[in-house]
Subunit: 107 residues, 2 copies
DNA sequence: CGGAATGTTCGACCAAGATCGAACGTTGCA
DNA sequence: TGCAACGTTCGATCTTGGTCGAACATTCCG
């Protein structure tokens, strides 16, 4: 597939509030985060069943990844994503929980 | 000045997570929210000392207002803004506090 | 009344962003 | 080896958004 495993993502210390907030401020990306949060483990892209095209999905994954909201691991043709919940909470205490709660209450 | 006091803003129930997150995901608007939070009472626009032009400031106030992040009250030539902290917390428990905390820790 | 202060709107500009289909590269399996 | 599956990138499109200066409307005070 694309480039090596050197997908860009910020370390915990590099997480920027504005980037994270922006990444979360899109309905599709919020849905992605919700699905990842509810999953028992990592989810492959296809498992997320996004309501947009494959390429748009890719774009959204990139935003989430580069904002530091998710991690990605490649295995074969698949990429497995996990929510960086621990990192996010360590860096911005309570934020991701509040977002997920607010999101759940809206559903 | 502009139109009557019927500035548009959502009621507590109408607050939308994505809109609030988006409103908060800009550095200037985050600064505005920070200033309002730290103030003892309402602040007039000029008191916020924004690092952008007056018109851009107006634009930002509008975004915050329409997302439901702030209230606005007119008095004379001035408009006084307050953070809708209670509403935000009631609707999205913990969110605004987490954002403000994260913001403070970044400073 | 004139001028200053205040804040908004408008128009323009440029950038960013969400979206899509096509093309592509990689993996895995029959 | 060929094909399917997977996910990315590219280019295009359209929308949204941040920015600015100018023009404007309102308020207030000397």
């Amino acid at each position: 597939m694309g480039p090596p495993m050197e997908l860009r993502f910020p370390t915990r210390d590099e997480l920027r509030l504005v980037d994270v907030l922006h990444a979360l401020s899109d309905p599709v990306r919020l849905q992605m985060v919700r699905s990842l949060d509810r999953a028992d483990g990592a989810l492959a892209c296809v498992e997320l069943l996004l309501p947009v095209s494959k390429s748009t999905g890719s774009h959204h994954f990139k935003v989430l990844r580069e904002a530091g909201v998710v991690y990605c691991r490649e295995k074969g043709t698949r990429r497995y994503y996990t929510l960086r919940r621990d990192d996010l909470d360590a860096r911005f205490p309570g934020l991701i929980d509040a977002v997920l709660l607010a999101d759940a209450n809206a559903s």
